[in-house]
């Protein structure tokens, strides 16, 4: 399957690009950030995106979705990355809904997916337990006593965990941290008894929560997939997430690079445009090379999801590592090439710098993915 967009996908991309640059440009993020908005995203925007069908992009047709596939989703994520758009799309649709689509029973799917497609239910994936992503080390227990399941423990840095209606929680029902066996997925209402949510606002305006589970009761029908056998589903959900967030990063990285090029073409010193200096030209050209290479990896990973190829995990780690390193590098260079203006909050460059750093950590930094890549390649 091609990395080049087809007619339909290009149309989708143009529509979303247009819509977001008019309705959700970077100053919307500034407003959300500066007013400490409760949700951290605009509900009006989310409703508009829903009308455009954005939450249904991935959803299979039988659940009211468009089945546009991951290349379509990738175009939307890139556009959101360019505009620094705040929305629950990633947590709800890419992570949460995927868990239900891939692991849920028919009745769970019927009950939840159409509501998500209609923009009326938001989800968050509660997975990490420390400040480094390491899903296999999940220790929070799902205990069973007299047929009653309960969760006790803490999940940290749960993306959008402060505002989601329901949480998809990765727990351990057997085995030890480090085992692939014994992982389970459960669906918990965010207002369930015994659940305490502490909101975290990251430096880039993204939101998360630390969530304490104190004897939170779970019924059988809240379990997604097989008890103790959720590893494959979790893996697949994470791969989707890694690839989608990589697409968002690609968009952001391209935007901050384009803005820098524009500055090189306009800003004058010593009586000439600073873009005539070869020292800057070469660094810009090197960034472009790195960006194109990362783009190939991200686009290929998106299409590997559409094809359901056997090497999705490998492609996911490849894409995330390349774009992590690229976004980090490009955002640093962007600041440097803007000179003093680059470190003012007046320009948006700093917003991209911060967004890059937060995104680097989401679902695994480069060290995590290099290690995983090595493992998958058998060395």
């Amino acid at each position: 399957m091609s990395m080049v967009l087809n007619e339909e996908q290009r149309l989708l991309k143009d529509t979303i690009d247009d819509f977001l640059s008019t309705n959700a440009p970077t100053d919307q993020l500034r407003r959300l950030r500066d007013t400490h908005d409760d949700k951290g995203y605009s509900i009006i925007l989310w409703n508009q995106l829903t009308e455009l069908g954005v939450p249904s992009i991935l959803m299979p047709k039988e659940f009211g979705g468009f089945g546009f596939g991951f290349k379509g989703l990738g175009a939307v994520m890139q556009s959101m990355g360019r505009n620094l758009t705040a929305s629950p799309l990633f947590s709800t649709v890419v992570l949460g809904a995927s868990a239900i689509e891939l692991g849920g029973t028919a009745s769970q799917q019927q009950a939840l997916l159409p509501t998500i497609a209609a923009g009326q239910l938001t989800l968050a994936l509660a997975i990490d337990e420390t400040h480094h992503h390491q899903p296999i080390n999940t220790a929070v227990r799902l205990k069973e006593r007299n047929g009653q399941l309960t969760i006790t423990g803490e999940k940290v840095f749960v993306l959008d965990g402060h505002s989601a209606d329901k949480l998809v929680v990765v727990v351990r029902s057997s085995g030890n941290p480090g085992d692939t066996k014994g992982l389970s997925l459960v669906l918990v209402d965010s207002n369930a008894a015994g659940l305490q949510t502490n909101r975290i606002q990251y430096m880039d305006g993204r939101n998360a929560a630390n969530i304490i589970f104190n004897n939170v009761r779970v019924k059988q029908d809240q379990v997604i997939g097989e008890l103790g056998g959720a590893h494959t589903i979790v893996q697949h959900v994470l791969d989707r997430g890694v690839i989608a967030i990589s697409a968002e990063m690609l968009g952001g990285c391209q935007e901050v690079f384009d803005r820098t090029l524009q500055y090189l073409r306009e800003r004058e010193q010593f009586g000439v445009k600073i873009g005539t200096f070869q020292a800057l030209q070469h660094r810009a050209a090197q960034m472009f090379c790195q960006l194109e290479r990362s783009k190939s990896a991200v686009l290929s990973a998106l299409s590997s999801l559409d094809k359901n190829s056997p090497d999705i995990s490998l492609q996911a780690s490849l894409a995330k590592t390349l774009i992590n390193d690229c976004y980090q590098h490009v955002s640093n260079e962007a600041i440097q090439m803007h000179g003093g203006m680059g470190i003012t909050d007046e320009l948006d460059i700093g917003l991209f710098l911060k967004r890059a750093r937060v995104s680097l950590q989401i679902l695994g930094d480069s060290d995590y993915h290099k290690n995983r890549y090595a493992q998958l390649m058998g060395y």
Binding site: V4, T276, H282, A284, Q286, E292, K295, K370, N371, Y379
Partner: protein, 396 residues
């Protein structure tokens, strides 16, 4: 019309039936079949494989059949390439004519010139050399001084070319020569084909840091060249030269992948030289991370090549991607060479000594030789200049 899948299947079956087992081993430099009057085959299988491919025109699969080529579409040629790679078939023929000069001649040559030269390239009968650079004209190629004087029905050529790859083993050389000394430098250059057997042509080998003598300084002393060996119009050779450089850049990316196979699988080498711990991980964490970094970058480049091909096929070409490939693939090759040396530790420091295996020595020689990749065919710095100006539209 045959379906793509059927076509692929037919190609595969043909390759299985016609490619001898020995020609499906990773290629070794000494066993490459180079074109030319002095062409040799190190074994019968290699000859058979070359002849079968030649007779199909598949040494140049996408060239027109009227000149002996395979007449395939871009897509079909890609399928042939993919199937050959999948089966591990060696390239049947090596030649600069095949990779660089032929495509340019097909674009710019007269019918008569194509009839004369293209079939011989396809059939591997003539080996071509490139006569662009000079002692004082490298990156600034247009400042070249070798001159051709118009003597009515022929030219007389005088001057020196530099870095002529395999000049002493080549039969013909395509040269950039100055035909107008008054005009601005790009506009006084012509593109001339010279038979190296002509009196007054002398190619003298130079030793490189890898110990090989692959490059020559080529001297032209009152060399008589017929007028109809001029490609394109007089004083308009620069546009032919530039078209050819485009093919050269492509070739440089191909060459990196050909070299890759010689050394075998870097993962296997790492396991052998570094060892695995009880968890099945490479014992050296630093090298393990470096290996991932290299493999990921190389995979990214392979995907870019695929994306570029898909762009061409769909007609949606987004500018700069193609310009990044030479810069990226040649520097990645060098990262890989450095990593191989690091992996091999002291065993990666051999030269002649018997303590070292043949493949260890080869790795080191490649490491040294591949330093040329970021210089030949337009240096990395020149590539970055081109990207900055062409792809990024930065002001000059």
């Amino acid at each position: 019309m045959e379906t793509t899948e059927q076509f692929r299947l037919d190609i595969r079956n043909w390759l299985i039936a016609n490619c001898p087992e020995s020609q499906r081993q990773p290629i070794i430099k000494d066993q490459q079949i180079w074109a030319g009057r002095r062409r040799t085959f190190y074994c019968e299988d290699a000859k058979l494989w070359f002849e079968r491919m030649r007779d199909q025109g598949w040494t140049a699969p996408s060239w027109p059949t009227q000149y002996g080529g395979g007449g395939m579409s871009l897509e079909q040629a890609k399928i042939l390439d993919q199937e050959m790679k999948a089966l591990g078939c060696r390239p049947a023929l090596y030649d600069i004519g095949l990779w660089m000069f032929g495509p340019a001649l097909l674009e710019y040559g007269t019918e008569e010139q194509k009839q004369e030269h293209i079939p011989k390239i396809v059939r591997g009968e003539i080996r071509w050399a490139q006569g662009y650079s000079e002692p004082s004209a490298g990156s600034d190629l247009a400042s070249l001084k070798t001159r051709a004087e118009d003597k009515g029905n022929h030219f007389i050529v005088n001057g020196t070319k530099m870095w002529t790859t395999q000049g002493d083993k080549s039969d013909w050389i395509f040269c950039l020569v100055r035909t107008d000394h008054q005009a601005p430098k790009q506009q006084g250059i012509s593109f001339l084909l010279i038979d190296m057997a002509t009196e007054g042509v002398d190619a003298r080998p130079m030793e490189l840091i890898n110990g090989d003598h692959e490059f020559c300084q080529t001297f032209f002393d009152d060399v008589k060249v017929p007028k109809n060996n001029l490609v394109g119009n007089i004083n308009e050779g620069w546009s032919v030269a530039k078209a050819l450089l485009k093919y050269e850049r492509n070739m440089m990316s191909i060459m990196s992948s050909i070299v890759e196979k010689e050394e075998g699988d870097i993962i296997a080498i790492a396991k052998r030289y570094v060892g695995l711990d009880s968890n099945g991980k490479l014992s050296n964490n630093g090298l393990r991370a470096q290996l991932s970094e290299h493999l990921m970058r190389a995979q990214g480049d392979a995907l870019s090549a695929l994306r570029l091909y898909q762009q061409h096929k769909s007609g949606v070409i987004d500018g700069g991607l193609g310009l990044t490939m030479k810069y990226l693939s040649t520097s990645e090759q060098q990262h890989k060479d450095e990593l191989l040396l690091a992996i091999m530790g002291n065993r990666g420091l051999s030269w002649h000594d018997q303590t070292f295996s043949i493949s260890e020595k080869k790795t080191v020689k490649n490491w040294a030789y591949n330093k040329a990749h970021t210089i030949a065919g337009g240096t990395s710095e020149i590539q970055l200049n081109i990207i900055a100006n062409k792809a990024l539209q930065l002001p000059v």
